[in-house]
Amino acid sequence: MGQIKLESVTKSFGPVEVIPPLDLTIEDGEFTVFVGPSGCGKSTLLRLIAGLEDITSGKISIDGQDATHVPPAKRGLAMVFQSYALYPHMSVRKNIAFPMKMAGVPVEEQNRRIEAAAAALNLTDYLDRRPGQLSGGQRQRVAIGRAIVREPGAFLFDEPLSNLDAALRVGMRLEISELHKRLKTTMIYVTHDQVEAMTMADKIVVLQAGVIEQVGSPLELYRAPRNVFVAGFIGSPKMNLLTGPEAAKHNAHTIGTRPEHIAISQTEGTWSGTIGVSEHLGSDTFFHVKCDGFDDPLTVRAGGEVALKYGDKVFLTPDLTQLHRFDAQGLRIA
């Protein structure tokens, strides 16, 4: 229950084509994450799947059934909105009950599911409050609770954690992942936070301007980005991308090396440079090294307790087995 298939789906708002023809299959039970820069069409794609926007052309099928013209409520999908979209004048209990009430579920069954969802989401103490009296994280859980009780074929999340603070975000991230493991329901999750994408996804879909740049597991994308855009987008901090003579040495237009694949030394190495800003995270340190002959500083990861400081002369050596090479079109050279 919950395979979603898009076939040459397009979407235009007036003359502006936001989604050019796009094909994508999301398997049953998969946790799929859409990532991409702001305005690339992630929300639009999700709303097309939900049925909240009509597609301009193409076909959407859910579980093999054509759902292109099926109204949102009949698609068996539940959506969690970025603004939570709770009903402010209803108590938490009524909010969660609303979809069941609309579906005509008997009251005893409604109560059973509400209690179960509230227990799973730690909401039992808040059932009689209004959304306005809850914290951001609690509201988020109510929104998820409202989605769970419908027992949908798939969950759609549109940046559900972006209004939460960092600590809460990590917590909710785990809760959603756990929920997925427990329910084994298809989930589509939109985010522009690539840590969320890397940690939660079975499959990541990287979008740019409505075009799918690459689809794959987090590690596939990390190990073998298909093009320069994906290389720069996946991984934190960003991959260092170099063009010009340095790339030509490796028979490529652009080469990329991740901060964690560069060794730093005070005595010898391929490239020499001076340390600029350093970011100490405790477990790791990221140095921004201004290298002789390169325009942009390189980011390098070192251990947590490295005794290097601003202005020190250092040598950098990239791990050549982990070097990514791209041609003039930005495509990966195998």
Partner: protein, 288 residues
């Protein structure tokens, strides 16, 4: 207004307005009370001294008193019902994206800018005239006998005229309220399987409740004292004599200021009874 400090600051800043309003209200109120205990006939001897509660007894025992209260309440209730029901519908309609929205919105608001006297005269002569009115022509076109609106359906006609004037106000307030409704809530309800009608009932209407309350309270205040519409149409005949109109007749037609003032005090009492009822019913919508 969270802290002690901001509360007392707010009080000080509001004081001038409150004092001014209080004076504005108290002076006429005290004068009305003063005259209501006097026999005061400006053209027939002037101030004829104190008479105690005589005026009050005479005003209430007049055969026009209870019918006037009834007419007042029917007009207020009728206009409120029409303006709120149609106001909500119009607001929803005007909130839909459509061609020429800006012009339509201005047209809908226009009646509010027409003076009550003028609009009542236009209705009386252009629409409701039993010989030349548009309605009469319409009725004749369908082969029916024209109705002489203002005598046969006088209360309904006045309700119609006043509703026409107040509908823009209600629509405007409700439209701004509808525009502040988060569209994601409606979308969430749509995904939750709510039909358009349930979306209206469960999401839109509760969202509008506060605006509806505001419309209800403000309109009631103004509708209790409508006068011009009656003055230029029926002159209080055919059962359209409201309390306001009765007071006017007592003071100006009968030249009895004392009796009219007593009626004024009854009007204050009526307004307060209505206000208490309204606050009981809808006042909780204004909390939070």
């Amino acid at each position: 207004m969270a802290t002690q400090h901001s509360r007392s600051a707010a009080r000080i800043m509001m004081a001038p307005a409150v004092i001014l309003l209080l004076g504005w209200m108290l002076v006429p109120l005290l004068m009305t009370l003063w005259f209501s205990f006097k026999k005061y006939l400006p053209l027939r001897g002037g101030d004829l001294g104190w008479v105690g509660f005589d005026n009050y007894v005479r005003f209430i025992s007049s055969s026009s008193f209870w019918p006037s209260i009834q007419a007042t309440l029917i007009i207020v209730g009728g206009v409120l019902a029409i303006t709120i029901i149609f106001g909500v519908l119009l607001a929803i309609l005007l909130n839909q994206p459509m061609w020429g929205q800006g012009i339509v919105r201005i047209l809908v608001i226009a009646p509010f800018f027409v003076m009550p006297t003028v609009s009542a005269l236009v209705w009386k002569n252009m629409f409701m005239d039993p010989v030349n009115g548009l309605f009469a022509h319409l009725w004749k076109f369908f082969g029916a006998e024209p109705i002489s609106w203002l005598s046969e359906a006088s209360l309904q006609s006045i309700i119609l005229i006043v509703s026409w004037q107040w509908l823009p106000f209600a629509t405007l307030i409700l439209l701004t309220a509808i525009q502040s409704l988060d569209s994601e809530q409606l979308e969430a309800a749509e995904m939750d399987g709510a039909s358009p009608l349930s979306r209206f009932g469960y999401i839109t209407l509760p969202h509008l409740s506060r605006a509806i309350t505001v419309v209800l309270l403000i309109q009631t205040i103004f509708l209790l004292s409508i006068f011009a519409e009656i003055f230029v149409t029926t002159q209080g005949a055919f059962g359209t004599k409201t309390l306001t109109y009765l007071i006017y007749q007592r003071v100006l037609e009968s030249q009895n200021v004392g009796l009219g003032s007593a009626g004024g005090v009854y009007a204050i009492i009526l307004a307060n009874i209505v206000a208490i009822f309204l606050m009981r019913i809808v006042g909780k919508n204004l909390d939070a």
